[in-house]
């Protein structure tokens, strides 16, 4: 006889684990399955784990800022659970958003005011005092080093910055998912690893359970797709689900670079997370006094959509997918080197290559599906790490409300934020939405 649970969560990453945690706290008997050998080892592990509040929509800002409260109170959020691996740590560096043509910072500032995000407006002298290695010239538009005008001398200075003192990053994204798993287990949540889902079964017009690669069938009236870069494959396994989504998800190859900090600058202890639309990069301190350099996906950069199974088969194996691309290494490092001219650039590229699970408009889908009992928290890579605990609470509310009869498509759930006391119309994240043209179509969300 097949095993039976109240809810199966597919994916033990940083979004899947909090969904399991919140459902378990509500009394659901949950099983989280993951193809890998532990929590957070998929694309979560490669996340830059930035905690910042600037988004292109007011709800986006509110959602992220609500998340701050969870990260700042991490131990209590976890119910003071002990994790044998230790707890991930919120590195509260503060977050600089440079005012540039690459970000609609006026809109962000308006949203900050509306939501009540703590911030300061900095002029160039204040930025220079905080981050003396930054040169504050304007380099816009973002170009690639192959373009000769990349090296043109700047003609103008930037305008200043919005500084959000509460921002930062989590020290270890994989560990943060592991922490949440341990917290969930206290409430009876079960986790199963090395368990690859090959089928999502339906019966009598609703989801019935999953089938694993080894043939094991596990039944549950609720199945949640939180499979990260594999999300579209899981949706395609569930009858009618993929077809019922107006917004689809795909896997995008993404590279993050590590460059040492200038020798006389203690970026690791004194540096700030910085969003720099002017050069199409964001950066934050990384262990070993390094700059971690992420890309804001400027239009001039190529996008490589891949099959996640083929990509991960190449990880550490015979594929090219575990290697940084030389051209992209140069693009991201040289861009940051315009802002930080003393940045040392090693001859040998180093960093992280992994996949984003991207939706058509880079806004996630937190929703039910056309198959009753089947839910999804997908399209979340690139800009949802910071929202993970809130997304967990929101998905648990949604699942519980729908299972109790809510017609979420007709009357979208109004999610109540615990800390900000705002409510958020979950219709914003609907799979049925039209492409949201307010989105930045990038990691900025």
């Amino acid at each position: 006889m097949a095993e039976k649970y109240d809810a199966i969560i597919i994916g033990a990453g940083v979004i899947g684990a909090p969904i399991a945690y919140e459902l378990a706290k509500q009394g659901y008997k949950t099983l989280t399955v993951d193809k890998l050998s532990d929590a957070g080892l998929g694309s979560t592990a490669a996340s830059c784990a930035i905690i910042r509040a600037h988004y292109s929509t007011e709800d986006g800002v509110a959602f992220a800022y609500e998340g701050f409260h969870y990260w700042m109170d991490w131990e209590n959020y976890l119910g003071r659970v002990k994790d044998e691996k230790g707890l991930a740590k919120f590195m509260q560096t503060g977050s600089i958003l440079l005012k540039s043509q690459g970000h609609d910072w006026r809109k962000v500032q308006k949203h900050y005011d509306a939501v009540g995000v703590q911030y300061e407006e900095w002029d160039l002298d204040q930025i220079k005092a905080a981050a003396p290695v930054y040169e504050l010239d304007e380099f816009w538009p973002v170009r690639r080093p192959e373009d000769p005008s990349f090296f043109d001398d700047p003609a103008k200075k930037l305008e200043g910055a919005l500084f959000c003192p509460e921002g930062g990053y989590m020290s270890d994204p994989a560990l943060s998912a592991h922490n949440i798993m341990r917290a969930a287990e206290v409430h009876g949540a079960k986790f199963m690893f090395n368990a690859e889902v090959v089928d999502v079964r339906a019966a009598d017009g609703r989801v019935a359970g999953i089938t694993l690669k080894d043939g094991t069938q596990i039944d549950a009236p609720v199945v949640v797709n939180v499979a990260g870069p594999h999300s579209y494959k899981i949706n395609q396994m569930a009858p009618g689900v993929w077809e019922g989504c107006n917004i689809k998800t795909k896997a995008l190859r993404h590279e993050v670079m590590h460059c040492p900090s200038p020798e006389d600058y203690d970026y690791y202890n004194k540096g700030y997370h910085t969003s720099d639309g002017d050069i199409g990069c964001y950066y934050r301190p990384e262990l070993g006094n390094q700059f971690l350099i992420g890309s804001e996906d400027p239009d001039c950069d190529p996008q490589e959509w891949v099959d996640p199974d083929e990509f991960y088969a190449g990880q550490g194996g015979t594929g090219r997918d575990n290697q940084l691309t030389e051209a992209q290494w140069k693009a991201q490092c040289y861009r940051l080197a315009r802002r930080v001219p003393s940045l040392p650039i090693p001859n040998q590229p180093r960093g992280v290559v992994d996949l984003y699970d991207c939706s058509d408009d880079w806004i996630p889908i937190y929703d039910k599906s056309d198959l009753p009992g089947f839910y999804m928290a997908i399209g979340s890579s690139g800009n949802q790490y910071k929202n993970a605990p809130v997304a967990g609470a929101m998905m648990a509310q949604l699942i519980d409300a729908c299972e109790k009869g809510l017609d979420h498509d007709a009357q979208p759930l109004q999610f109540k934020m615990k800390y900000l006391k705002r409510s958020l119309d979950m219709g914003f994240f609907s799979r049925k939405r039209e492409i949201n043209t307010d989105s930045s179509f990038s990691v900025n969300g």
Binding site: T325, E326, P344, I345
Partner: protein, 255 residues
């Protein structure tokens, strides 16, 4: 003073090497300046910093793409580049002759630096062959170096970590080890400057090397399979330690 640094364009050690036709590797991967040659370039640039009127010339034998490696050496502070262009992979006998001929044609070397080895072929021999062709003294795996007049005092590491101090008259060939220095990382202004530095290209065929006495022919290329498997020893610490000792003695045969 005139310093030449021989550098090699090699696959990134982080690259996944794929073998094609049993004879060559797939070259669509990242290639870069051989890491030991970075120590050689650093040593050359530091010598230059100690003496006015010193020129550092980076020399390579390689395909067209090897120009990137010369640019890396230039970004680290070499003054100009010399690219001996070849369409084929060359063995160390041809390489040493080509480097010697190109350097002779270019000027008079006081010191020639190389890395102690290239991370692709790991032959550890080009520096010795180069010195033999030029009839110069050579010391490799050098960990310390200082110059007094027309001689270098060098420390080199021999077998099992034995260090030996030698005095070598100039001109000479020096093979740099990792311990010699910490190579600098260029900054973007260095890289931009390097884009404008001169690289002279000579064709390997134009050097008229003649025929070396021996030729290395590559018959077959196979990936080295690494079979490293972690094993967790169960049981109490006492039991696990006993088992570990047994494994080290009987299986690994290292104690």
């Amino acid at each position: 003073m005139s310093i030449y640094v021989c550098v090699k364009h090699v696959p990134d050690s982080a690259a996944t090497i794929t073998i094609r036709d049993g004879r060559q590797i797939d070259e669509t991967i990242t290639f870069l300046l051989n890491p030991y040659d970075e120590n050689a370039v650093e040593a050359a640039v530091r010598q230059k910093a100690q003496e006015t009127d010193t020129e550092v010339v980076a020399v390579t034998l390689g395909k067209a793409g090897a120009e990137n490696t010369l640019r890396s050496a230039l970004a680290m502070g070499a003054d100009r580049g010399l690219h001996i262009l070849t369409a084929e992979r060359q063995d160390s006998m041809v390489t040493a002759r080509a480097l010697a001929a190109a350097i002779r044609q270019d000027g008079v070397a006081d010191i020639i630096f190389t890395g102690k080895a290239a991370i692709d072929s790991e032959g550890w021999e080009t520096q010795y062959r180069l010195a033999a062709v030029l009839d110069l003294p050579v010391v490799s795996n050098v960990t310390e170096l200082s110059r007094e007049g027309q001689a270098l005092t060098v420390v080199w590491e021999g077998d099992a970590g034995a260090l030996q101090t030698l005095k070598v008259p100039l001109p000479c060939v020096i093979g740099a080890s990792k311990a010699l220095n910490r190579p600098r990382y260029p900054t973007l202004p260095d890289i931009i400057k390097a884009r404008k530095k001169k690289i002279r290209t000579v064709d390997l065929a134009a050097l008229d090397l003649g025929r070396p006495a021996g030729v290395l022919e590559l018959l077959d290329l196979q990936p080295a399979v690494e079979n490293r498997r972690a094993k967790i020893l169960a049981g109490s610490p006492e039991v696990a330690v006993d088992e570990l000792v047994r494994l080290l003695r009987e299986e690994a045969k290292v104690i």
